[in-house]
Amino acid sequence: MRRAIIREQQARGRKAVAVLPVHYPKPLLTAMDILAVELWGPPGPPRGPDAGRLQAYVCAVARNALAFLAAGHADVVDGVLFPHTCDSIQGLATLAPDFGGWGKPCFRYIQPKGEERPSSRAFVRAELESLAAELAVLTGKSLETAALRRALELHTEIDRLRAALLDGRARLAMTDRELYGLLRRGEFLWPEDHLQELKAATGRLAAEGSAPVQTDLPIMITGYVPEPMTLFDHLRAAGAYVAADDYAGIGRRVLRVPVGEDDVVSERSERSARPEAPPRPRPVSDPFVALVRQSFEAPPCSTRSANQDRRLEYLVGLYRRSRCAGLVVHVPKFCEPELFDVPAIRARFAAEGVPLLYLEGELEADLSAQAQTRIDAFCEMVAAQRRRGGRAAGGTRGGATGGTRSGATGGEA
C-alpha cells in the first residue's frame, strides 16, 4: 500500500524520503515537495540477514529498521532522513550508509537536546537551513519561502484537526483502533490527502458539551509508538479506551499551539502552562522563525530530553483534562530516552494516587498472554476502584492507590 502511494507521488514529480523516528521538520519536506514516509520498525521480529548486525540489546525500532533498509524494502524511496533521536539511531545513521544497508542519499537532522538556550535557538535555525540546502540537491530545486509558508499553514491545520480528535476523544464515535489507524496514516500520506481524511473524521465528533459517546474506562497512555495495534483491541475487550494520548509518535507530535513567525520567546512559559489555549495566528515575517519555534513548542518529549518538570506538568494536565482513571506506560525495551523518564512518571502519578500499568514492548506482532493478563487485571482493578470511589471520572484520587509496578525487572507487552 505504501509502495503504491510512494510511486503515485513520485509520478507527480515529488521525491520520497524514508524518515526514522521521531521529530523532524515535516513542513520543510512538504514545502520542498518531498513525501515523508516514516519507518517505525516495522513491527514483528527483525527479518533478513542484516538483523544480526545490531546487538540484541538495541531496541527493536533500530534493529528492525536496519534489517528493513538492508533487505531493500525501502528501495522505492529516494533517500533516508535520520533525525538525531537517540544513541541508537545516531549509530544506525552511520552503520547503514557507511557499512552497508543503504546506498541512496542519506540526511541527518540534528536536534538540540536539553533546555532551550540562545545557542540552541541559533543552532536549530542553522540546522534547518543546512537540511534545506541538502534536500535541494535531491530535489534539484531550492526551497521557496512562499511554499514553506503554505506548508506551515497546511500542517498547522492538520495539527488543529488532530488535536480536535484527540482532545475530543470522549465525544468521538470511533474505536481506538480506527482513530490510531487514521492518525498513523499521516506517517506516509501526502499531507493534503491526510488532511482530507482528518476532516472527514471530525464529522464523527459530537458537539462540544454533548454527552460522551465513549462510556468505557478512560485510560491515558504514554509511550513511544502504538505497536502492536492489537493493544487497543485488548484494551477494548477489557472495557477501556484511550482517552488521552502521549505516544511520542502521536500526541507528542501534535502542536497544540500554532506558532507564528515572530519570535515569541517571552511568551513561551505562559503558553506552555496553557496548552489548551485557543489558536491565534501571528503576523508573518519569516517562516523559518516559525519552524524554529515549533521545535521548542511541541509537547515535551523524552527524546528531546525535555525539562522533566515541564513534562510531568504536561502529563498531569493532560490526565486531568481528559478525566482519566488510570495510566498505562508503554515503552520499548532498551529505549534509553523513554526508560529514563519512567521513575519520575511513576513517582509523580503515584503521588496523585493514579493507578499505573507498566508495559515494555519489543514491536512484537501481538501482546503476549502475560501482557494481556496484566491489561485485564489492571482494568479490573481500575474499574473496582472507580466503583468504590463512586466518582464520576478520573482526576485525582486520594490515598490508597499506588502505581502498578512491574517491578525493577520490567514488564513486557
Binding site: 552511520t94 538556550r117 541559533a122 519512567v342 521513575p343 525493577a408
Partner: protein, 450 residues
C-alpha cells in the same frame, strides 16, 4: 564556610598524606596477615611481569583525591562532571571535580554495582539502562560509596560527546540535588563537522563560562584558561606517550594496567598533580621498555581491546590471557584520552576546545572508528582483537559486528565479540565468557604453528 575551607586545606596538605600512610600501613598489615595465615586470594604472580612501581603512587594520588573530596563541599565549589566534558573551562574557577564515571568504575571493581543499582531499580530504573548511571544514582540515594563520602555538587556539567545517557542521568542528579546543570551538546560528527555544529558547541562553551563564574563566584581572566589548557595539553601528550610505550615488544605493561592508570587523565585532567604522576609513570614505562621488562611474563600474541573494560572481572580476564601469553597492548578506550585532546591549542581556547571535544571517538562515525582501530592494529602490531560488546553502552557497541568483520577482511585480524557489561556482573556469564576466550586463544595456536 571558613572552617570548612581550613579543614579542606588541612586534609589536602597535611592530614591526608598522613592518613594515607596509615591506610597503606594497614593494608600492608592485612597482606602480611594473609600471607601468614594463608587465607584470602593468593596472588599468582607467575603470568605477569614485575609489577609497576608507579601503581602505588597512583593509589596514593587517587586516595588523596577522594579523601580531599570528602571535605570539598562548603570549602570550594564542587562540580560533577562527565568524562568527556571540557573541564578546562571549569578549572580556573576553582571547582573541585568529581567524576561519577570514575567513581562507577571504582564501585564496579569492588563489585558493588548490583547492590547500588537495586536501590534505584526499586524506583523504576530499568536494568537495561547504563550501569554507571544506575550505580551512581544508587550511590546518591543510599549514600553508600567506597570513597567514604562524595562531596555534594554545586554544579553538574554534562557533555553529550560520549552518549545521550549522561544527559538523562545528570538531569536526574540535578533533580535530586536541586543544583544547576550545564550542558554541552555536541552534534554527532558524520564525516566532517559542519561549521554551524562547531559554532553551536562554541556558543555553549561561552554560555558555560558565564555559568561557571556565576556558580563559583570567581571571575576568570583569559590567561588563567590558557594556562589550564597548556597543562591539559601536556597531560594528554604524557598519557599518549605512556600508551605508545606499548608498541615496544614485549610491551612494558598491559592494556589492563592502562585501564587502571587512566584515572588521573579522566578525572584530574588540567591539573599539575595529574601531569606529575604521568611523568613518573612514563619514566618507568620507558625504562622498562629499554630494559625489556615485560607487562606479562611471556608475550606471544598481541591484542587490541575495544570498548570499556569489564571492571568487575578485570583481574580474572587479565590473568587468563596472560597465562597463555596473550597481552592487550592497546585499547580504543584508553586511546580516546590521548587523541582528541591533542587538538587543544592554548592560543585559541574556545575554538580548539570545540574541535577537541566534538572529535572524540564516541562522537564520530564508524568509518572513523574503523580507521582508528586499523591504525592502532598496525602501529601496535597486533594479531587479534577482543571487542567487548557492552550491554550498558550502546554508543560504543553499535557497529562492532561490522567492525569485527572488517578487521578480519582488511587486516586479517582475528576478533572476538565478548558480550558483557562494564559494571554490572549480573549481566555477564563469566563461565561462558571464559570458555569463549579460551576458544579464541586456541584458534591462534591452530593458525600459527609455534
Amino acid at each position: 564556610m571558613i572552617t570548612r575551607r581550613v579543614q579542606y586545606e588541612l586534609i589536602a596538605r597535611a592530614a591526608g598524606p598522613l592518613l594515607m600512610t596509615i591506610n597503606r600501613w594497614q593494608g600492608d598489615l592485612k597482606r602480611a596477615v594473609r600471607r601468614v595465615t594463608g587465607r584470602g586470594p593468593a596472588r599468582k604472580a607467575a603470568p605477569f611481569g614485575p609489577p609497576l612501581e608507579s601503581t602505588r603512587k597512583l593509589k596514593d594520588l587517587m586516595t588523596m583525591h577522594y579523601l580531599t573530596g570528602r571535605y570539598a563541599d562548603g570549602a570550594v565549589p564542587v562540580a560533577w562532571v562527565t568524562s568527556g566534558f571540557p573541564v578546562e573551562i571549569l578549572r580556573p574557577s576553582g571547582f573541585f571535580t568529581v567524576y561519577p564515571e570514575n567513581h562507577g568504575a571504582v564501585c564496579a571493581v569492588r563489585r558493588m554495582v548490583p547492590e547500588l543499582s537495586e536501590a534505584v531499580e526499586k524506583q523504576g530504573y530499568s536494568r537495561d539502562l547504563c550501569a554507571y548511571a544506575r550505580c551512581d544514582l544508587g550511590s546518591v540515594v543510599t549514600g553508600k560509596t567506597p570513597a567514604g563520602r562524595l562531596p555534594r555538587p554545586d554544579l553538574l556539567a554534562c557533555c553529550t560527546n560520549i552518549c545521550q545517557t549522561v544527559l538523562y542521568w545528570y538531569r536526574a542528579l540535578a533533580e535530586h540535588f536541586k543544583v544547576p546543570l550545564v550542558l554541552v551538546d555536541t552534534p554527532f560528527v558524520y564525516g566532517e563537522a559542519k561549521p554551524h555544529h562547531l559554532q553551536y558547541v562554541r556558543d555553549q562553551l561561552h554560555e558555560l563560562r558565564t555559568v561557571a563564574e556565576r556558580v563559583s563566584g570567581n571571575h576568570v581572566a583569559p590567561e588563567e584558561l590558557e594556562e589550564i589548557l597548556k597543562v591539559s595539553l601536556a597531560g594528554t601528550r604524557l598519557w599518549d606517550a605512556c600508551l605508545k610505550t606499548g608498541r615496544t615488544k614485549p610491551s612494558p605493561w598491559t592494556g589492563f594496567d592502562s585501564f587502571i592508570h587512566l584515572a588521573p587523565i579522566v578525572s584530574m585532567r588540567g591539573t599539575e598533580e595529574c601531569n606529575a604522576y604521568y611523568r613518573i609513570l612514563l619514566d618507568e614505562l620507558q625504562d622498562r621498555a629499554r630494559r625489556g621488562v615485560p607487562g606479562i611474563a611471556n608475550e606471544r600474541v598481541r591484542l587490541l581491546w575495544d570498548n570499556l573494560p569489564i571492571w568487575f572481572n578485570l583481574r580474572e580476564l587479565a590473568t587468563l590471557l596472560a597465562e597463555h601469553g596473550f597481552n592487550f597492548v592497546c585499547t580504543t578506550y584508553t586511546n580516546a584520552w590521548a587523541e582528541a585532546g591533542g587538538l587543544i591549542d592554548p592560543a585559541d581556547p574556545e575554538g580548539s576546545a570545540t574541535r577537541a571535544y566534538i572529535h572524540v571517538i564516541l562522537n564520530r562515525d564508524l568509518p572513523n572508528k574503523l580507521r582508528t582501530m586499523k591504525r592502532m592494529c598496525t602501529e601496535y602490531d597486533v594479531q587479534g582483537a577482543i571487542l567487548h560488546s557492552d550491554r550498558s553502552c550502546k554508543p560504543y557497541s553499535i557497529g562492532q559486528i561490522d567492525l569485527k568483520d572488517r578487521l578480519a577482511q582488511e587486516l586479517g585480524i582475528k576478533a572476538l565479540i565478548l558480550e558483557a557489561c562494564h559494571a554490572d556482573q549480573r549481566a555477564y556469564a563469566s563461565e561462558q565468557g571464559e570458555m569463549r576466550i579460551r576458544a579464541f586463544m586456541e584458534s591462534f595456536d591452530q593458525a600459527t604453528p609455534s
